[in-house]
């Protein structure tokens, strides 16, 4: 039986590479990227998938500082906790 999916979106002040590393450790792999424009800024939007769990990361393109990627998670409660714990450790 599939775990009940929950929703969570967080904005973090850690580099994208560290988030990607954390996602890779728990079995997520990248499934696609696109460029979007929101709030007058260009963002790279990435989709990560593991089974029926999906994570979107949006990071501003360019030399913007500080960078605060937005992580949107649609996954089980356990996966959401793992990601948030991983982000806190950095």
């Amino acid at each position: 039986m599939q775990n009940k999916q929950e929703l969570k979106s967080i904005s973090v002040f850690i580099p994208l590479e560290k988030i990607e590393c954390n996602l890779s450790e728990i079995g997520f792999s990248i499934n696609g990227t696109t460029t979007i424009v929101a709030d007058g800024k260009f963002w790279k939007k990435m989709l990560y998938i593991k089974d029926n769990e999906r994570i979107n990361i949006s990071e501003e393109i360019g030399d913007a500082y500080p960078k605060d990627p937005i992580i949107t998670i649609c996954a089980s409660k356990i996966t959401i906790s793992k990601i948030i714990d991983g982000v806190k450790k950095v």
Partner: protein
């Protein structure tokens, strides 16, 4: 009816709060393609402009963009010669080169207010060398061809749990609800 703009994090978190309160709601989604010259190579950040580097050149962000080589813009059915002005940030109303995009709008209506998330998703450029004929080209001439691939829907959409209903709509017409006046 007030309209509240949200960013991705705010919009998703608002939906999460609604799910947690067991409030009944519906998410509307509108995805429409535009090619209205809103975006062109002059205003792209360096990282994005790099995708066009085979055919275009510019000094810096927002400076005039010139063609490096002759090429065909297959999406718009146009051909450009070498050193032709393609785009400039100062004359955006009359650009020669335009990047198509999807305008994506998500909205939810709660307690008489509309909460809106909007963003534009750019089409991906794909540049290849192909044999083409016509438009002053000799038969079988090798030339750069610019194609645009639309972003895939799975990347455009916001991931929501299966129990959240998403309706696709063509347009949102705002209605004044006089019943809310006391």
């Amino acid at each position: 009816m007030p309209l509240y703009e949200c960013n991705e994090q705010q919009f998703v978190e608002n939906i999460r709060r609604l799910i947690e309160t067991s409030e009944k709601f519906l998410v509307n989604r509108r995805i429409i393609m535009y090619d209205d010259a809103k975006y062109g190579p002059s205003t792209l950040p360096e990282e994005e402009f790099g995708r066009y580097a085979t055919i275009c050149i510019r000094k810096s962000l927002k400076s005039t963009v010139f063609s490096k080589v002759p090429f065909i813009d297959e999406f718009h059915g146009r051909m450009y010669n070498e050193n032709e002005i393609l785009h400039g940030s100062s004359n955006l109303l009359f650009p020669r080169m335009s990047i198509p995009y999807y305008k994506v709008e998500y909205s939810i209506n709660v307690w008489g207010g509309t909460y809106l998330l909007t963003f534009d998703a750019m089409f991906k450029p794909e540049i290849m060398i192909e044999k083409r004929s016509g438009k002053g080209l000799a038969k079988g001439t090798l030339i750069h061809v610019l194609k645009y691939d639309p972003p895939e829907e799975r990347i455009l959409t916001i991931n929501l749990p299966a129990n959240v209903m998403v309706f696709d709509v063509k347009n949102m017409i705002r209605v004044i609800d006089y019943s809310l006046r006391f």
